[in-house]
Amino acid sequence: MPQVSMTVNGQAVSGEVEGRTLLVDFLRETLRLTGTHVGCDTSQCGACVVHLDGESVKACSVFALAAEGGQVTTIEGMASPDGSLSVLQQAFQDHHGLQCGFCTPGMIMSASDLLQKNPSPSEHEVREWLEGNLCRCTGYHNIVKAILAAAARMRGEPDPDFGGAIAAE
């Protein structure tokens, strides 16, 4: 079987895979990094989103061999080495942006890519960005709220008011 090597959360890793082995299976089964989840088989749910060379990708739609030599970050690599949560992770806790936790790793990985690209997203932009991430628990309300709060905190601003019922946009 072919050998694949890549850097995952800053560590050089390698392993044997089949040509058809998906990146998500390499992460979960070979590396036992089980924070990246599999919620569907049609690349719709986004529970498997990781960063590959700085971009969010669905790890169910990338062959492990296609990540050869790549820099991969998974949810396990998002908190500080001392265990403290990132600004985005903390905002999710503060604003109850998760319930069962299954979609959460994908939400964090997807949203962190958004905030890298767009430090001041509107509510509409956040909702549009999350089109590839399904959550069945939260109704998305508190996820959107948490991401907007994280963006504000990264800009050194207080959490925005998320009250009111009719969408601003």
């Binding site: 979960r28 599999v38 049609t42 069962c100 590839g132 399904l134 996820i143």
Partner: protein
């Protein structure tokens, strides 16, 4: 120790950190040494006889260790997947209860019926081998449409010649007929409560393991109630006594009802692990879950409401066909009966109600409890027919509801459908909801939309639910084959920390936080000194699990009972230490005090004395400080509220925009408002999903075109606005549990669908549209507009984009969905 938080505060969830850092422990994250992977061959057709099943080539394939078929299961004499509720029919006979084999034997009865199981060293090897199984099925006509099923020649089960599982009626038929005879006005409505797929984000999974030296079986499974699985599987399917069977439900990624039930795959991996002497793991793929998880709803109903000349409700008559699917799932018979017909009074004083429910077998996946379970179906028909009556009588829908509300001073209130509501204030939740939605100024907003060529509508839904399931004696009399109490153990450790073992199961609800709040408040100790343990039958003494919004009302009450026993024992220990009478000891702020003195012992001093009983009333009191409690509720709880939805419809395309959604709820006392709000948000989107985009559609052959996330429209973040969710300042605490709580998990899914449909029907009022069946896809809405105004049809059709009218019968979602499916930016 000073307590650092209390009941009633939105405490951050302690379980979040593990989920936010990828350290959750879901069933599929678990791998056992030397395990095999199991993949099921499932029926590709809805109904047929297995005429050939040759596994020889597959068994010889690389990596395959063993293949089992229905013959092996039959030869082993394994039991049928059991049903936990028996309905007695109107004619006195028991419901028809056909066997549900673990693997199909002789006949397949739905697409997805498991036929063979391949155990291999890897998933890929198992899937490769599946392709080598030689299967031939002689197809039989599929039974799909419930109305046709009544007279169809083909039958799902030989035992049910007309495909009826039971024909059951409820309420006073004579009184209801008399009410209709005297009515000034009768409103009639035929409606469909569309079939849902629950779609918890974590697919089901199960790992079976067997230790021959101790004859111990272990099952890791995605369950909302591990003890219930141990009981059903151990006693009825595999004949394994409780002490030899451990069931672990670790972190579970959402349930919504679908993970209550005992599934054949759980029994299979548990049994197979012993046969092959290796752990056996099965993880469901999403498209597989569409054809093997219990579905929800699926009622076809005719409802009639009788009113007097003033708009007072006189009687309600309901005739429902309820889909059971191919086999009876764990609680399936209870859903359209005792969780549905009993709720038909709603918030109203309707004096006479009669319901006839016929449960139908079809060649589809079984239907069982899905978030709300029967209560959304009751609420939908009631809140739709009340709205239709208001329109026919030219009354304000809020006013007609108000006129018929059970008044605040009438509680406890006996409905004509067997329930006694303990408390409520429906006027308060309605008034708050109307204020939140600025209902009074709606017509101004409608006129503004009209100037832009849009149709604006507003819809109300005043729901009630029966939660906190349930008094065991009552449900036993109604056919339940289990008690529905909850159990708890509170173990005070020697140095004063507390381990709480609860039979409730948390799969998103945040029990680890909420239950700790309750215990911290009661014991006056720091929350960090409290651990909540659940989900493992070897650690938790007993439990009935989490469903029916029961965890805090029933499970929390069991914890409170156990905590109170701990306090009572602590008083006796403290009395000895303080040389006082136990009657003079009071427990306040974590201190056992001699009333009226400054003599006191801290909680941890008393717990230490209990485990180091040197100075201890050893003659009268056992050492240790640990108490068990079982709490059996005296009544259901009755959360209620008003949900209001405002929409804008584009008449040219039929696209519905949800502009606002306001929830005004009475959940009694609230322990953690942040978590309660989150529960409502999630429930509302499941309800709006049903009303707006979701639909589980079978074709006439029993194939499932909506069988993947490519085809089943799951709600997404960009389809909904922010929600406004508030509990009522007039909330009425439950009168019969020690916390005064009612439950909040299902309210959103119960209250929201009729609010949305009422809003869209209101938006289309000038087109004479009286009803629309869910989901309100652009095609369905646009077609209604065109059909209602034939004169305008030509111009409407000419101006409508091709996508809307040509969308298929499967849900097409909102305008944004098509571009999302075919033009998504990620992958």
């Amino acid at each position: 120790m000073a307590k650092d938080f209390t009941v009633g505060e939105g405490v951050k969830r302690r379980e979040d950190v593990r989920f936010l850092t990828g350290r959750g422990n879901y069933t599929d994250d678990i791998n056992r040494p030397n395990q095999l992977t199991c993949v099921f061959l499932r029926s590709p057709v809805a109904h047929g006889k297995i005429t050939k099943l040759d596994i020889a080539a597959a068994a010889a394939a690389a990596g395959v260790v063993r293949i089992f078929t229905g013959d092996d299961i039959a030869a082993a004499g394994l039991g049928s997947v059991p049903c936990g509720w028996e309905i007695t029919q109107t004619n006195g006979e028991k419901m028809v209860e056909p066997a549900h084999p673990i693997l199909a034997h002789g006949k397949v009865r739905h697409v997805g019926d498991p036929i063979a199981a391949v155990l291999a060293t890897s998933r890929d090897a198992a899937k490769d081998a599946i392709e080598k199984i030689d299967l031939e099925i002689e197809e039989l006509p599929a039974v799909i449409d419930m109305k046709k099923a009544l007279t169809q020649a083909s039958t799902v089960h030989d035992e049910a010649a007309d495909n009826v599982c039971f024909d059951w009626d409820f309420g006073d038929k004579a009184a209801t007929d008399a009410a209709f005879a005297n009515a000034a006005h009768v409103t009639t409505l035929e409606l469909v409560n569309n079939r849902m797929v629950p779609n918890a984000m974590e697919p089901r999974a199960a790992i079976g393991e067997y230790e021959p030296t101790t004859e111990q079986h272990t099952l890791y499974t995605t369950s909302q109630n591990p003890h219930v699985i141990r009981l059903l599987m151990g006693a009825f399917v595999l004949s394994i006594p409780e002490h030899k069977l451990r069931v672990v439900a670790p972190d579970v990624g959402g349930g919504f009802g679908s993970k209550i039930f005992h599934y054949a795959e759980e029994a299979f991996v548990t049994w197979a692990a012993k046969q092959v002497g290796r752990p056996v793991k099965w993880t469901c793929e999403r498209s597989e879950s569409f054809i093997s998880d219990a579905h929800g709803r699926d009622h076809v109903t005719t409802a009639e409401l009788a009113l007097d000349a003033d708009g007072k409700f006189l009687g309600l008559r309901v005739d429902t066909l309820a889909n059971m699917g191919a086999y009876l799932s764990t609680f399936a018979p209870a859903v359209p009966t005792y969780l549905h017909a009993t709720l038909l009074a709603g918030q109203y004083t309707t004096p006479a109600i009669h319901a006839r429910i016929r449960a139908m077998f079809t060649n589809t996946v079984w239907v069982d409890a899905y978030r709300g379970a029967g209560r959304p179906e009751a609420t939908f028909l009631l809140e739709r027919i009340v709205d239709k009556a208001a329109r026919e009588l030219k009354m304000d829908p809020a006013e007609l509801r108000r006129k018929n509300f059970i008044p605040k001073d009438a509680f406890p209130y006996d409905t004509p459908v067997a329930l006694t509501y303990d408390t409520g204030d429906y006027e308060a939740t309605l008034a708050q909801g109307l204020a939140m939605a600025d209902y009074a100024n709606f017509e101004t907003r409608r006129a503004e939309s009209a100037r832009r060529g849009k149709l604006r509508g507003i819809g109300l839904s005043c729901y009630i639910e029966a939660c906190g399931i349930a008094p065991s004696a009552l449900v036993g009399a109604l056919g339940a084959r289990a008690g529905l109490y909850e159990a708890a153990t509170v173990r005070v450790n020697p140095t004063g920390s507390v381990s709480v073992f609860t039979g409730s199961h948390s799969h998103g609800q945040g029990h680890e936080t909420t239950f700790a709040q309750v215990v911290a408040e009661r014991l006056g100790i720091d929350q960090s000194a409290i651990e909540i343990i659940h989900g493992d039958t070897d650690r938790v003494p007993f439990g009935m699990g989490t469903y029916g919004s029961r965890s805090l009302a029933v499970g929390g009450s069991a914890i409170v009972k156990a905590v109170d026993k701990v306090i009572d024992k602590g008083k006796k220990i403290a009395a000895h230490l303080l040389e006082a009478s136990a009657d003079d000891i009071v427990f306040e702020d974590g201190q056992f005090k001699v009333a009226g003195t400054d003599k006191a012992k801290a909680f941890a001093e008393v717990s230490l004395a209990a485990y180091v009983p040197h100075q201890y009333p050893i003659e009268e009191l056992e050492p240790g400080l640990e108490e068990n409690a079982f709490y059996d509720p005296k009544n259901f709880t009755y959360p209620a509220g008003t949900h209001i939805c405002e929409v804008e419809v584009d008449p040219d395309t039929g696209v519905v925009d949800v502009l606002g959604f306001w929830a005004s709820d009475d959940f009694g006392n609230v322990v953690n408002p942040m978590i309660v709000e989150g529960q409502v948000h999630g429930g509302v989107v499941q309800g709006l999903g049903q009303a707006f985009i979701e639909n589980c559609a079978y074709d006439e052959n029993g194939q499932l075109p909506s069988g993947s996330y490519m085809d089943y429209a799951m709600p997404r973040a960009d389809q909904f606005p922010r929600f406004s969710v508030e509990t009522s300042p007039g909330s009425t605490p439950c009168t019969h549990n020690p916390l005064g709580v009612k439950g909040c998990g299902e309210a959103g899914a119960i209250g929201s669908p009729p609010a949305l449909v009422n809003a869209v029907v209101d938006a289309l009022k000038d087109y004479g549209v009286e009803h629309l069946d869910m989901p309100l896809t652009p095609r369905r809405v646009w077609s209604a507009i065109v059909a209602a105004k034939p004169a305008e049809a030509a111009t409407q059709a000419a101006s409508a984009p091709a996508a809307a009218p040509s969308a298929s019968a499967s849900p097409s979602g909102t305008g944004g969905l098509l571009s999302r499916l075919f033009g998504g930016k990620k992958n």
